[in-house]
Chain length 127, copies 2
Amino acid sequence: MVTSTKPPYDVYDANCPARQVLDRLSDKWALLVLDRLRGGPLRFNSLRRSISGVSQKVLSQVLKRLERDGLISRQVFPTVPVSVEYALTSLGGTLTATVELLTHWAETNMAAIEAAQARYDASLALA
Amino acid sequence: MVTSTKPPYDVYDANCPARQVLDRLSDKWALLVLDRLRGGPLRFNSLRRSISGVSQKVLSQVLKRLERDGLISRQVFPTVPVSVEYALTSLGGTLTATVELLTHWAETNMAAIEAAQARYDASLALA
DNA sequence: GACACCTGGTTTCCAATGGAAACCTTGGGC
DNA sequence: GCCCAAGGTTTCCATTGGAAACCAGGTGTC
């Protein structure tokens, strides 16, 4: 069925490394971080403040994973107190366009989603 | 900075409902389910078999959330043993193009990601 | 009638993850 | 000596995830 020029990766196969990537991409904080960095490099705390709700622990974990995946870079400046800048790599840059489409979709279709939820909950209530 | 014609939703604000949507989208199983349904309606067990690694519990939870969000529909057929078909709604259909871009990105850029991981791990090993 | 089997779940149990808050480190300033 | 700031790490507890067992209800089989 899939005999085209596709790469030998199949995200539906649990043993496929592409699934590992999808696991990372499908982390809400990772998506938000990547999108946030589109505007240029950011330091740890300003990144944290700009994404309300993320804890320091989780943010540092997410940043480490993204760095390991080569999607962002981490640069330390020997200022007083040391400052650290995170920036998109070129690989990460190729992702952000797609991520932007996702966040844009979310913002655009919120009203429809909320309406659907209300309908669903109402139908349950009278059941 | 963002003073354009954007809707009054801000995914970076934890209190924004768009974040709830992003939470759902950034669920790896949800992404896989939505993409799988692009080919047409599927029944519970065939969906489960086609996405290796998902448990029954999690799949039914994901399907319930997606149905509540109005992204998929659930139709019961009174066959002998009852069969249940899940299908994309039109709202869900608007998402799948974006989702496809994400999975396609994952499959395309796997090699680069794996190389980055190897580099990262190597640099840690000699530290 | 007792038994096994099908789909489509729910329940149970345990391990892994997430988040809040406290703590640590390095280096000023006062 | 004391406090502060940046960038984390550690601790602790609650929530979530997954494997496997169980359930419902309807059919067929002996």
